[in-house]
C-alpha cells in the first residue's frame, strides 16, 4: 500500500523533507518506523528515540502499535507545544 508520511518541527528539519510517499507492507506504526529508519541515516537518527516522538495515523493520535492497513497518512512529530 502507499502511505503519505509527514514530519513536523525538528523531525521535518532533521529528516530534511516535510513529507514523502512510501510503499509499504507495514502492519503497524512500529513496522513502518523500522522501514523508514532504513531509508537514511537521518531517518534512523530522527526516529531512534521514540519516547520523544508522537505519531498520528490519518490525523488521529496513535501509538506504535496502531495498525496501518487502510491508513493513508502517518505523521511523526515532537510533543506538541501549542497555546
Amino acid at each position: 500500500m502507499t502511505i503519505d508520511v509527514l514530519y513536523f518541527a525538528w523531525l521535518r528539519e532533521r529528516i530534511g523533507v516535510p513529507r514523502e510517499r512510501v510503499d509499504t507492507a507495514a502492519a503497524t506504526v512500529r513496522d513502518l518506523v523500522a522501514e523508514l529508519s532504513a531509508r537514511s541515516d537521518w531517518h534512523a537518527a530522527a526516529l531512534s528515540d521514540l519516547s520523544a516522538v508522537r505519531v498520528a495515523v490519518d490525523q488521529r493520535l496513535g501509538d506504535l502499535d496502531a495498525p496501518l492497513p487502510g491508513a493513508r497518512e502517518v505523521a511523526f512529530f515532537p510533543p506538541m507545544t501549542g497555546g
Binding site: 506538541m80 507545544t81 497555546g83
Partner: protein, 143 residues
C-alpha cells in the same frame, strides 16, 4: 461554537462582540508572546487539517462536558512577534464555575495536545524548538 486557525492577527473585540449573549458568565484566556531572553518572535508550525479537526473536537468536548452555551478557539500559526496575542479561548455558560473550568480545560489541552510546535526567534535568528513541559503534561491529569 467557532474555531479559527490562521496566520493573521485576530481582532478579539470583534470576535467577542455578541459572544455569550444570554449566558451569565463569559471567560476569556489570551496567550501573548513574552519577550523573555530577548525573544523577537515565535514561529508556530501546525498540521493543516488535523489542527482544525482536533481543535473543533476539543471545543465540542468542552461544550458537552461543561454544558457551555458557546465556545471560541482562535489559534495563530506562522511568525508571531513578541507582544502579540498568539491564541484566545472564550467560554460562555450560565454560571461562572463552568465557564472558568471549561477555559482552563481547553488551555491545558491546547498546551499539550493541539498539533502546534513553537520555535523561538531571537535577534540572532532562529533558536531551538520549544520543548514540551512536564507541567503542561501533568496539568491534563486534572481532568
Amino acid at each position: 461554537m467557532r474555531v479559527l486557525v490562521q496566520p493573521e492577527p485576530f481582532d478579539a473585540a470583534a470576535l467577542l462582540d455578541g459572544f455569550g449573549a444570554g449566558a451569565g458568565a463569559v471567560v476569556t484566556f489570551t496567550g501573548l508572546v513574552r519577550a523573555d531572553d530577548g525573544l523577537v518572535a515565535l514561529e508556530l508550525e501546525h498540521y493543516p487539517g488535523m489542527t482544525e479537526a482536533a481543535l473543533t473536537q476539543h471545543a465540542q468536548a468542552a461544550m458537552d462536558r461543561f454544558a457551555l452555551t458557546d465556545a471560541l478557539v482562535v489559534h495563530r500559526h506562522g511568525r508571531i512577534a513578541a507582544g502579540e496575542p498568539i491564541m484566545m479561548v472564550a467560554t460562555a455558560a450560565p454560571h461562572r464555575r463552568a465557564a472558568f473550568d471549561a477555559a482552563d480545560f481547553l488551555m491545558d489541552w491546547l498546551k499539550s495536545r493541539a498539533p502546534f510546535w513553537k520555535r523561538e526567534i531571537g535577534p540572532e535568528g532562529p533558536r531551538g524548538w520549544v520543548a514540551a513541559k512536564a507541567e503542561d503534561e501533568a496539568a491534563l491529569d486534572r481532568w
